[in-house]
Amino acid sequence: MIPPIVMDLIKIKKLIISLSIFLAIVLAGLIGPIVYPVNPVVMTGPIEQPPSSKYPLGTDRWGRDVLAQLLHGIRNSLSIGLTAAAISLAIGVTIGVVSGFKGGITENSLMLLTDVVYALPSILLMMLIAAYLEERNPFLVSIVIGVTSWPWVARAVRSQILSLKTREFIDMSRMAGLGDLRIMFEDLLPNMASYIFMAFVLLMSGAMIAEAGLSMIGLGVTRGISLGIILYWAQLLEAVRRALWWWFIPPGVCLVALATSLLLLSTALDEYFSPRLRGE
């Protein structure tokens, strides 16, 4: 038996379109390097070749295969996006749930912290932190993105909790003598699962764009490849001026398609869960 919610979701056109685009690119990143086993960082051909049957997306300044770079880049950008989003979500949800549920001085101090971090633009904070890190591996870049991107999640989760905690089932749990932690994580959180999933999706697309931005200004991963790193080298070696379009168009298209499909996915879910937006 297929649960009815799945049947409902399948009918949403936006959801189907966004999921197909997203999954297609994810598959390219996961399976691509196996199907197309070319080393992305080794010179395998003549330099700056336009696309041909031998090099489907051409080669770069050092004769490295751009398609191979792209496939590995998608994979690494996705993993940075996932890790960073998980970190942000963990911080944001914890602060949001605890401050919304506890109230009082805990709430005030946590919200003050959130507001202060919120007031400082995350992309500038990321650049600043990354500038002082000499060796930046993908995990470190994820942390830098993760620890600066959570404030809006904390705020949003808190306001959800504020409205949820006055519901009757919470009183029941209290009467049953459940502890705060159990109420927070067993009663309150599951009730906002859809909301948290949407936040995760948005965090992930934001993190992938942030990674590319950091790379472009010279603060991305110091070794290895990502969509942003491909763009960085293309920019540094003047691919645009010399019309080497195969070098900078594909990574950007993948990045925009990934981020847009994730945004569309969260919009579709949002419309599904809050019927006011669907509008009849």
């Binding site: 003050l112 507001d115 202060v116 919120y118 007031a119 400082l120 633009p121 995350s122 992309i123 500038l124 904070l125 650049m127 600043l128 932190i129 500038a131 002082y132 890190l133 000499e134 060796e135 697309s205 764009i209 590319a212 931005g213 472009m216 200004i217 010279g218 603060l219 763009l231 293309a234 920019q235 645009v240 001026r241 019309a243 379009w245 900078f248 168009i249 950007g252 990045l255 925009v256 981020a259 847009t260 945004l263 569309l264 919009t267 006011r276 937006l277 509008g279």
Partner: protein, 337 residues
Amino acid sequence: MNPFVKFLSRRAGFLVLTFITFIFIIFLLPRAIPGNPLSTLLSQLFQRAQQNPELIKAVYRQLMEEFGIGKPLHVQFFEFISRTFTGDLGTSISAYPRKVADLVFSYLPWTLGLLIPATLTSWIIGNLLGALAAYKRKTIVDNALLPVFLTLSQTPYYWLAMILLFIFAVVFKVFPIGGAYTTGRIPALTLEFALDFLHHYTLPFLSITLSAMGGWAIGMRVMAIYELRADYVSYADSLGLPDSKILRYVFRNSMLPQITGLALNFGSILGGSLITEVVFSYPGTGFLIFTSLSRLDYPMIQGTFVLLISTLLLANFIVDIAYALIDPRIKTGYTGG
């Protein structure tokens, strides 16, 4: 106390708190990060010492002095904060002995000159198009506009910049490939220079405006859809008020949250436009950060961020206050009804 003064002082207190937190982060970073970036910088200086020993020694002494190396941490912090508040941001390493503040101030106008007009233009056009899409809901207009908004809002400014540059400067040579004016020209208030400047300005301006526009339009569209379903709209409709008049009300009411959005998004637009400067070799602070990074000029990087973030926090403070003056609901909040 006058409620407005109270509101004002609360906001001002928050501004100071945020600024001090930020200064603390800036202070802590080079000192707390393992592998100590400063020592890397110093050893790099020593390696170059053979070329120009006197200069390197002077730079070295300056660095020791400015970072207060050897002094207790709290002394370092108070020295740092008092220097920052008096506008002393240290001395550049790559352009020794020039002061960081002077250098950043010479780059800042280019950044602001790009950022402010582009942000405001994108805000106005984005809001208008978003309201139009909401009004024309379920028609071809909305169905065509929405995907464009969504895609634009997720397009990094700098990548759009690369695409525009490729189309309009490389394929069709309509606009120059980079810079803020033709190399060799001296900025002056002449018509000729102004035209040259605008010629270079168009593409960077367009890339920031177009990418930023998508987000505003999406926000406005959602806001206006909610608003169009409000009771007062059906009431006004039943009274027989003309559509144009109702739309004006709807637009004005949906506009208010977008003003707060303007303050909140200044930061991310600034971040995006800094990277766009790199693509165009535009002589703003983004380009300055980019070049300072490759030379490990930490005082310069630090100083640039201090000035950028101070400007931003101040701008947000002003928008906050202006918003409170405009929105009657907030006014009731601080006058207590």
